[in-house]
């Protein structure tokens, strides 16, 4: 029985989420993707697996940062020997580097296609297969209809999908549960050690269905995400023009 005020509010929030159409992730299927500080942004405090996430990158450097952040999440999803299908139209991923983010590169099956259309078809087929831990699609454009097809596939199979859009012509609205933009940050180095430090990113959650968008500064070491405590003068995020 909820007695205190906080309990009542939490219960009400849960009920509202259900009314909003958010499918709660089953407790035994909840995967801690290690995004501790971002938890309050997610509906119910759980990273939404079994949905499509959209990641946007505008430059080659952003794409690398996005790939790193994505690999960090995948590493958590692919524990217990799960496998991932990585579909791309112009693949630049260097497989041995995935090991740095906790992914065994031999557990990733790369599918290289030449057209976005084929990539979307392959993604839809892959998302229908519930023997997978995650499906990643690297492509340029995705239409609302295409994203809806992916969403329908995911609702059956509960596979988590990631669409990494590199230099999209325009940011159309999609059915994806979240839209992320990751940009590199100046890395910190302890005790004025020389050389670049651990990978650091500014993680902007531009859109989160039933959640709270926001911006965080994260770094990756010891095989998990950490928040950057000290205030670094973060670069202003170049605003994306939304058309249509």
């Amino acid at each position: 029985m909820p007695t205190t005020k906080a309990d009542i509010i939490a219960q009400l929030q849960k009920d509202i989420l259900l009314l909003q159409g958010h499918q709660p992730t089953l407790n035994n299927a909840a995967v801690d993707v290690g995004l501790g500080p971002l938890r309050e942004a997610f509906p119910g405090g759980v990273f939404p697996t079994g949905h499509i996430h959209e990641l946007i990158s505008m430059s080659a450097e952003d794409a690398a940062a996005t790939s790193g952040f994505l690999s960090g999440i995948l590493g958590c999803l692919m524990q217990e020997g799960g496998i991932c299908i990585w579909i791309s139209t112009n693949r630049m991923i260097f497989p041995p580097a995935l090991q740095h983010f906790g992914i065994a590169p031999d557990q990733v099956v790369f599918v290289d296609v030449s057209r976005d259309k084929d990539a979307l078809w392959a993604m839809e087929e892959a998302l229908k297969c519930n023997g997978l831990a995650a499906v990643v699609g690297e492509l340029k454009e995705i239409s609302f209809t295409a994203s809806r097809r992916l969403q329908l596939a995911v609702e059956q199979s509960k596979v988590t999908g990631f669409v990494h859009r590199h230099q999209p012509r325009q940011l159309t609205s999609t059915t994806c549960v979240a839209r992320w933009q990751i940009t590199p940050l100046v890395s910190e180095q302890e005790e004025r050690m020389p050389g670049p430090g651990f990978p650091s990113w500014q993680v902007a959650l531009l859109k989160m269905r039933s959640g709270k968008p926001g911006t965080w500064r994260l770094t990756w070491y010891d095989n998990r995400f950490h928040t950057i405590r000290e205030a670094i003068t973060a670069l202003p995020l170049t605003p994306l023009r939304k058309i249509g």
Binding site: E61, A64, I85, F94, P95, P105, V109, A133, P196
Partner: protein, 500 residues
């Protein structure tokens, strides 16, 4: 371990069969005879008859003069082949590969079978005693080659089991007839006083060929195991093929679909029964105008799931041009492998690469978009970044060495290193600033160099000195300088990748 063969010689195959059917003939001398040039000639004689000096090839009248009580029976044409075939099929209980060796022998390939009977000697004894119980007078021998087993079965006096690799020593004391030679060659050898294989086996091969022909050398090589000898097994492997003739020519996609479903069901039923799965299958459509339309599919792992295979074919049905109609469908599995039926997991959150569903997904992807789009990588023992991983031949292959994480490697790598303009202090410092695609980057932090030598046994060229650098915006790059610093030549710098 070499291949092992057993040769069984039925010394009185036909007469033994008559004795089996008429036991009263056991002690009576009798012969089988067939008309030859207007007289009756003996083709087989039993042991009591042979004891009294009657042998094959004699005229019946001559034999009657020797033994007045001799019984003469008519020969049954084709009897020995029929008997040998039946006995060969009976011998399949001992080995799956049994072949007949007319007129009076059987050859069994027993590689890897004898241990089930507790060794070769009990194995041979078992075959021999059971055939003797039937009433056949047999001799048998085991050797590495068909030729040696044949020779020892018929002419051997020492032991019926020739140990592996020792057939030459056992062949030496045998007569030349043990080599399965023509009578003329045997006659010539005999005239020259070569009564044993050992007396001519070491003669120069050119001399043997000149005097006795190539056949002698071939038989010798076959007996010694230097030349392979192939016998056609009685039980031929059935090809995995299904046919569906049509009463009316089929011209529609629906018709083809129905035909394909039926063929797949029949084929998969058989594959399932034999615990096999197909890797490659081909559907041939024979058209009324004698044209043949073909579509083929491949799978990543053996499958006998007809629904999955149908899905793979379904993507290609539109490529079949029925023309005036198709009158015959043939579905053949060109590559079939054993399938291991694993126990289904009751509950698993994330599948693995052995998962049937994953394999079927990849089959669908390659079937639709084209082969060669699916890649999986394993670590390779090279320092050179482009060669530090290799393509995995299959989904099941697991890495034999660990992935290296001791060196920083960029998450995204350019397919080809791109030339950049840099200003760098000499000789071994990282660049202070560099220009890539028209944009100037000021290097704030840098690490390196990590020298990676070119593998001279694979290619020539200069080594690379890699630096990890970070610019003022926090963007991280992997740069390298090609070769040593040289005062006279401008050195080349490249960008090779982007760190996360």
């Amino acid at each position: 371990m070499p291949a092992r063969f057993i040769a069984i010689w039925f010394r009185h195959l036909q007469t033994d069969w008559f004795t089996r059917r008429q036991p009263e003939l056991r002690e009576v001398p009798f012969v089988l005879a067939a008309p030859d040039h207007g007289r009756m000639k003996i083709t087989a004689a039993n042991i009591p008859a042979q004891a009294q000096g009657i042998d094959t090839g004699m005229a019946v009248a001559d034999a009657r003069a020797l033994v007045p009580s001799l019984q003469v029976l008519d020969e049954v044409p084709g009897l020995s082949e029929k008997l040998l075939t039946a006995l060969g099929h009976w011998c399949i209980r001992y080995t799956p590969v049994a072949a007949i060796d007319p007129p009076d022998g059987l050859i069994l390939d027993i590689s890897g079978c004898a241990h089930l009977w507790g060794g070769e000697i009990p194995y041979l004894e078992d075959i021999r005693s059971r055939l003797r119980d039937f009433g056949y007078d047999v001799r048998a021998a085991i050797a590495d080659t068909i030729g040696a087993a044949w020779a020892v079965a018929r002419y051997g006096r020492v032991t019926p089991v020739v140990p592996p690799y020792e057939q030459q020593a056992h062949l030496l004391p045998l007569p030349p007839a043990a080599l399965r030679l023509d009578p003329e060659v045997l006659d010539r050898l005999h005239k020259l006083g070569l009564y044993q294989v050992g007396s001519f086996i070491n003669m120069p091969r050119s001399a043997l060929r000149r005097r006795f022909g190539q056949d002698l050398l071939q038989r010798l090589d076959q007996a010694l195991g230097m030349e392979p000898e192939i016998r056609e097994s009685l039980q031929r492997p059935e090809p995995y093929e299904e046919r569906l003739p049509c009463l009316e020519p089929i011209m529609t996609a629906t018709g083809i679909t129905i035909a394909l479903e039926r063929l797949l069901e029949a084929l998969c039923g058989r594959l399932q029964k034999e615990e096999k799965g197909l890797r490659n299958a081909r559907l041939k459509c024979y058209r009324v105008d004698n044209e043949v339309q073909e579509v083929s599919i491949g799978t990543n792992r053996p499958s006998h799931n007809s629904r999955h295979l149908f899905k793979l074919f379904d993507q290609h049905i539109s490529q079949i041009a029925p023309g005036l109609g198709i009158e015959l469908f043939v579905l053949e599995a060109s590559r079939v492998e054993a399938v291991s039926t694993a126990q289904e997991a009751l509950w698993s959150r994330a599948g693995n690469l052995d998962d049937r569903m994953v394999a079927e997904l990849i089959d669908r992807l390659t079937g639709k978009i084209g082969a060669g789009i699916v890649h999986r990588y394993l670590p390779d023992q090279h320092h050179w970044p482009e060669r530090s991983f290799k393509q995995a031949p299959s989904l099941q292959e697991s890495p034999d060495i660990a992935w290296r994480t001791d060196r920083p490697r960029p998450i995204r790598l350019l397919a080809e290193p791109a030339l950049i303009e840099v200003s760098a202090p000499i000789p071994d410092y990282p660049p202070m600033l560099f220009r890539y695609k028209g944009e100037l980057h000021r290097v704030k932090k840098a690490d390196g160099p990590e020298r990676i030598e070119r593998e001279w046994w694979l290619e020539t060229g200069a080594h690379r000195d890699y630096y990890c650098v970070e610019d003022e915006k926090g963007q991280r790059y992997w740069l390298f300088r090609l070769g040593h610093y040289d005062v006279d030549q401008p050195h080349q710098w490249f960008i090779h990748g982007f760190f996360a």
